[in-house]
């Protein structure tokens, strides 16, 4: 197959870091905080590299949108086996307001430009939990979508996707070109080994601006306030059932 796969990777605050809200409540503290590749994006990269190793696709292109630092994230994808990277430069205010709609416009434009026949994304990012980019990208391109994929297989000219849904597992067959979003159980991402990390240094990362792709990154959303969730109140211990009923009555629950 001469297919080219586009994989979106997002740079997010590391999963293990304790998140702090900025004193002015406009967002969370990101300065000096450890960042890494979104775990679901890692799974997406792993899946793409696996497909390439099975010789089902020819090239894996890793894409990320953001400031200079996202190149680290693209390099990680390259170290895992992606062939080349595309860094879509978005910085400053634009980056702060960058959301699924703009990213999906960018990915759609890139998919057309690069003549990709498959886009694999993580199902959602762990910072915004939007779970929208994959779906919006498919809609903009008018491509079929297989979201929450826990299994992916090529069958003739179609893609068989097993999806994790609330009721269980749903198996669908979609025609290519298509968009797939990766769920947790799709695979276990590999560790980037040193020889690959060294090789990755030599792989190309092309720089592109949203304007070059004809995309307007202005946001239609305005974040009003960011707050921490309310602190959990300590429970109250009661000695007898009467006490319990009394307390419930006091709280207006009975």
């Amino acid at each position: 197959m001469s297919a080219r796969v586009l994989v979106g990777v997002k740079r997010v605050i590391d999963y293990a870091v304790k998140i702090r809200v900025k004193p002015d409540h406009t967002g969370v503290v990101t300065d000096g905080v450890k960042h890494s590749m979104n775990p679901f994006c890692e799974i997406a990269v792993e899946e793409a590299v696996k497909l390439k190793e099975k010789k089902l696709i020819k090239e894996v292109v890793a894409v990320s949108c953001g400031p200079q630092q996202v190149q680290e994230t693209i390099r990680t994808a390259l170290a895992m086996g992606a062939d080349r990277g595309i860094h879509v430069e978005v910085s400053g205010k634009d980056y702060e307001t960058l959301g699924p709609l703009q990213v999906s416009k960018i990915l759609a434009a890139l998919a057309k430009k690069e003549e990709a026949s498959l886009i694999i994304l993580g199902k959602q990012a762990i910072d915004d939990d939007c779970n929208q980019t994959g779906q919006m990208t498919a809609a903009l391109l008018d491509w079929p979508q297989g979201t929450f994929a826990s299994e992916l297989a090529f069958e003739a000219d179609k893609l068989k996707v097993v999806r994790e849904i609330d009721g269980g597992l749903e198996t669908i067959k979609i025609k290519l070109p298509a968009v797939v979003t990766a769920d947790l159980r799709l695979n276990t991402p590999r560790y980037a080994t040193l020889p690959n990390i060294m090789k990755a240094k030599k792989k190309k990362i092309a720089m592109v601006k949203p304007a070059d792709l004809g995309v307007d990154v202005s946001s239609r959303l305005e974040v009003l306030k960011v707050d921490e969730p309310p602190t959990r109140q300590a429970g109250v211990k009661v000695e007898t059932v009467e006490d319990l009923v009394g307390k419930l009555k006091e709280a207006g629950r009975v």
């Binding site: 590391d14 999963y15 590999r190």
Partner: protein, 533 residues
């Protein structure tokens, strides 16, 4: 030929099983006979090489000696304790069970009383009383020790620090933390991390071990390479002596040369000279950038050269250099289902760097990695900068001990040797034991010259034990190594002390013990050899 020993009558309720210790070369079981007397059967230790040097019972150097004539706990004693520590005097046998057995499940005591004081004053009153009554006491922290030092041998009263878990103070300019001895190491780490500091020591048992226990065993751990031992980082101690007197040397000074440094006596004394009740310790700043590299080498020689290269190129940012061999990796994969992140190699290294500047550290690390890769010192490897990945790589080294417990029976040896000789011991043991052992693995703090040699068999095998000991100790002694690098002597290794210390030194230790604890009530049967008197 067997040696019979008749012990004094004991209540029917309790039964003894002294013999579960792996170093026992014989079956030692105490069973109740119809006439209610306990008879202990001993069978001959096959190899009585250095029996002259090994103490009171030459046939069984790591077996428990006979019970010394301490008093037994009476109802009156229990009333005293219950009045002193209401609700914190435990006598329920079910609750006592876990405190009577060590973490490795190899030694079991039969204490009937567990005391949980909350304050130093409480400990002082307990010891004063026990000293007067001639009752033996076994201080116990997290009970994670590996040499049977943290559990009673007979009916010693267990003095637990589990309720002494208050942090007194933390000075974030000097980095000096002052806290009670029962604080769990991991909790202290979390407390400090919120304030941008870390504990100067880290070990696999961090979720359970108490800082008091760490200090009284002079625990080493994974960060010793970078931050040094507790002998340097502990600034002060509060210790309760055998007669109940409180020795307050809880200074929080970095430098204090006024007289003899008494705290050094108690550090590493394994609870035999005094009970540590509070610690003041110097803590380093939390590094801004931590990287972990997991590398594979095809020979131990290359591993050593990688270490030299590492020292040279990473220099001051190096914070840990650990190794494990292919056998360890097999066990991790088999029992804990962990995955090897790189290709199979005979040796694996875990390197950690910790510094204040991520870019600077990563540059140094990448230069080092490029160097060792191109010179083929290292055949494969991976790097991690994210917290979750770092944890995953560290678990490959930290969980080896756990993986070994699934193999059946583990014979553990914690040896200090000249760095070049470390793996020679493992290979020699493999040759020496042949097919007798199921597994012979080596891992440990190679950066500190400390090998953890572990041998497994499906179940206790006395022939195997006889083949291992004293061969391993003699081998160590030949290279002027230590037979217990960081685990201490406890019950199991007390009589082997002569392999690493001259008799004059041991005699002086005995004098110090006699001076500080004339009745010998503090953690008896531990640390010092049976022939000390």
């Amino acid at each position: 030929m067997g040696l019979f020993q008749k012990c004094s009558r004991l209540s029917l309720r309790s039964s003894y099983m002294w013999s579960v210790c792996p170093q026992y070369s014989i079956a030692v079981t105490a069973r109740e006979t119809p006439d209610r007397a306990l008879i202990v059967h001993w069978t001959q230790h096959r190899d009585v090489h250095n029996s002259r040097r090994l103490g009171a019972n030459p046939a069984n150097p790591s077996a428990a000696p006979p019970r010394l004539p301490f008093s037994r706990v009476t109802q009156e004693d229990l009333s005293f304790f219950r009045a002193l520590l209401p609700g914190r005097t435990i006598t329920d046998p079910d609750l006592l069970k876990s405190s009577n057995v060590d973490w490795l499940k190899t030694v079991q005591g039969s204490s009937d009383v567990l005391l949980r004081p909350k304050t130093t004053e409480g400990v002082s009153q307990i010891l004063r009383y026990c000293n007067e009554r001639n009752l033996a006491v076994c201080p116990q922290g997290g009970n994670t020790g590996l040499v049977g030092g943290s559990v009673p041998v007979f009916d010693e009263i267990i003095l637990s620090t589990s309720l002494m878990n208050q942090v007194f103070a933390f000075d974030n300019i000097s980095g000096i933390l002052t806290c009670q001895a029962g604080c769990v190491l991991e909790n202290l780490s979390h407390y400090l991390e919120e304030r941008d500091f870390i504990m100067p020591l880290d070990l696999g048992a961090k979720g359970s071990c108490h800082i008091g226990g760490n200090v009284s065993t002079n625990a080493g751990g994974l960060r010793l390479l970078r931050y040094g031992s507790l002998r340097g980082t502990v600034l002060g101690l509060e210790v309760v002596l055998a007669d109940g007197h409180v020795l307050n040397c809880l200074a929080t000074l970095r430098k204090d040369n006024t007289g003899y440094d008494l705290k050094q006596l108690f550090i590493g004394s394994e609870g035999t000279l005094g009970v540590i009740t509070a610690v003041s310790i110097l803590c380093p700043r939390k590094p801004k950038a931590v990287n972990v590299a997991f590398l594979g080498c095809s020979s131990f020689q290359q591993l050593l050269e990688t270490f030299q290269c590492c020292r040279g190129m990473l220099g001051e940012i190096l914070s840990a250099f650990e190794f494990l061999d292919a056998s360890c990796m097999n066990l991790l994969e088999k029992h804990l289902k962990l995955t090897n992140p790189i290709t199979e190699c005979p040796f694996y290294i875990v390197i950690e760097t910790a510094g204040s500047n991520a870019t600077h550290d990563e540059e140094k690390l990448h230069q080092f990695l490029e160097e060792v890769m191109t010179s083929s010192l290292v055949t494969d490897g991976t790097v991690a900068t994210e917290a979750t990945k770092i944890k995953a790589l560290w678990s490959l080294r930290e969980r080896v001990t756990e993986a070994l417990t699934h193999e059946g029976y583990t014979y553990k040896y914690d040896i200090s040797l000249p760095v070049e000789k470390i793996y020679d011991l493992v290979q020699d043991m493999r040759r020496h034991l042949g097919g007798m052992a199921k597994n012979v693995v080596g891992y440990g703090h190679v950066g500190d010259g400390n090998l953890h040699l572990n041998i497994t068999s499906p179940s206790k095998d006395f022939d195997l034990l006889a083949a291992i000991e004293p061969y391993v100790y003699e081998w160590t002694s030949q290279w002027k190594g230590s037979i217990s690098a960081e685990h201490g002597l406890g019950l199991k290794k007390r009589n082997y002390i002569y392999y690493s210390k001259p008799s004059e030194a041991v005699a002086l230790m005995g004098s110090i013990k006699a001076m500080l604890d004339p009745k010998g009530i503090l953690n008896p049967y531990k640390t010092l050899p049976d022939n000390i008197n």
